[in-house]
Symmetry: C2
Subunit: 78 residues, 2 copies
């Protein structure tokens, strides 16, 4: 089994209300040195055989990421 | 600025309907060698100063992960 991780994040120019909600809550925890918080999706794809990065990119393109507002990164994870 | 990434995933024993929905759609893309798909959250915390892993763990404990059904991992990302 080999695991490929696809990280899907909103594009930098897109407003991230979830991330802002977390960032706004931090002062109440006494945390004041955080500049920003952004929240996205982490998708773990377990391949039965070898890790197939091209295949993972195809899956990301077609099923996981909305290319209009999201970027994604693909990597093999040990 | 230093970025700490918190990956929040459902515990292995918890059913992941989102991941299963993606896994079930893969044969239609001609993808048949994927054993499983699991979907979680990726949280990017940008610290104004140094990356503070202890602080990121505190934020994860209190705001980001539900300890009953989720695990999280914290790491500094270049």
């Amino acid at each position: 089994m080999a695991r490929v991780v696809v990280d899907v994040m909103l594009k930098p120019e897109i407003l991230d209300p979830q991330g802002q909600a977390v960032a706004n809550a931090l002062p109440r925890l006494g945390v004041n040195d955080v500049a920003s918080v952004r929240i996205g999706r982490r998708v773990e794809i377990e391949f039965a055989g070898e890790a197939d990065l091209d295949r993972a990119k195809e899956i990301a393109d077609k099923l996981l990421a909305n290319p209009v507002i999201e970027d994604y990164a693909v990597r093999v994870e040990a």
